[in-house]
């Protein structure tokens, strides 16, 4: 089991447990993390599971693929650290990952 922290815009933190193999979006949905909507169900087709992955975790989560980068055009307040959580596969080395949920997901 991995521990992942979702940080809300108001600073509140929610630590959830997830198994490797799931995506970060799935971990959020299974634990009803507010602000992760995932309207398309993880098809990288809607940009409503947007999160910010800050350093030092960015090295471990990798960078967005071309498809994800294109889909991020449909997200709001996109930053350097923006990712779609459905495109981050959970691996053992992501244990302890902390991500921030944007103020608004559209």
């Amino acid at each position: 089991m991995l521990k992942i922290t979702f940080i809300q815009p108001d600073g509140s933190e929610q630590v959830v447990e997830a198994e490797p193999g799931f995506t970060l979006m799935e971990a959020a949905k299974m634990n009803a993390v507010p602000g992760i909507e995932a309207e398309c169900g993880g098809a990288c087709a809607c940009a409503t599971c947007h999160v910010y992955v800050d350093d030092p975790w960015r090295d471990k989560t990798g960078t967005p693929s071309q498809m994800e980068e294109d889909m991020l055009d449909f997200a709001f307040d996109v930053r350097e650290s923006s990712r779609l959580s459905c495109q981050i596969k959970l691996t053992p080395e992501l244990d302890g990952l902390a991500v921030r949920v944007p103020a608004k997901q559209f």
Binding site: A43, D73, F106
Partner: protein
Amino acid sequence: MSLDDTPTPAASPIETDAVVIGAGPVGLFAVFELGLVDVKAHVVDILEKPGGQCAELYPEKPIYDIPALPIVTGQDLTDRLMKQIEPFGAKFHLGERIDMLERLPDERFRLKTDAGTEFICKVVVIAAGGGSFTPKRPPLNGIEAYEGTSVLYSVRRMEALRDKAVLIVGGGDSALDWTLNLQPLAKSITLLHRRDEFRAAPHSVEKMRQLVETGDVRLMIGQVTELHGTGSQLDGVTVKTKNGEERLAVDVMLPFFGLTMKLGPLADWGLQLHENLVPVDTEKFETSEKGIFAVGDINTYPGKLKLILSGFHEVALMAQQAAKYVYPGKKLLFQYTTSSSSLQKKLGVS
């Protein structure tokens, strides 16, 4: 006065057995099951093409849980369903949204779309999935006040933008197309996108770049952070770029951030709702209103799974009850398409 000036009278309502709301896979298969029991249907969908989420969100993505199709893409599934329902000749009304639904004194229903198309029918089948696709609204403070006047999500009349300072936000085909289309008549066009890369048709991008080169279009890389204006009239926006914030004078903003699903007018039809879903029974998939059915992702019942295959099952049962309303008193004989010559005749295969 020329004939052209004569106001056209409102077209008379289309009388039919059933109106299916939503042309996703479940709405399409509803046409098939209704057709087998001789219920004629018209299909309405807000998108310009059939397929619903399958066609809009994941046309090229594979689906693995359609029985007997080990792998099929959203678009292929749509195409196959369209072929399967062809014999029933359902008429499609695409790019239209049902805005009004009311029960008539004779128990039939009257429906009207945002384009003015009217239907009179005996049963209504709501197969609206996650709701109607609507443009995403950028979460900017106070944007609601400007919508329809100086924040537009679609352009119905280009003339309305003549000599205006127009800001187009986005990097897809809609953003690029409107940049090119409006450039000749607007006072100024600014195209704002979060990065200097566009996932639009290459020739549009090239054309846009030429207009930027000649100074006819201003391209900005950044994001809108604030709107400024009075009442419903925008007069400027604050844009955050790499170099800091800049205030831009703008008469009209066109944001293109794709589509999202909203329940929409369905919420006002007097149906019982539960968390934005329509509760139904599991025998007929009928709503709290007799003659109005809900099938697919939009409905809810104990054990509901939002699967396309569940929706297929639901429409088969729904059609049995729908036929009872359309042909009261007529006994329905249960038949198989494999062996029934009357069903095969309807399918055009015998």
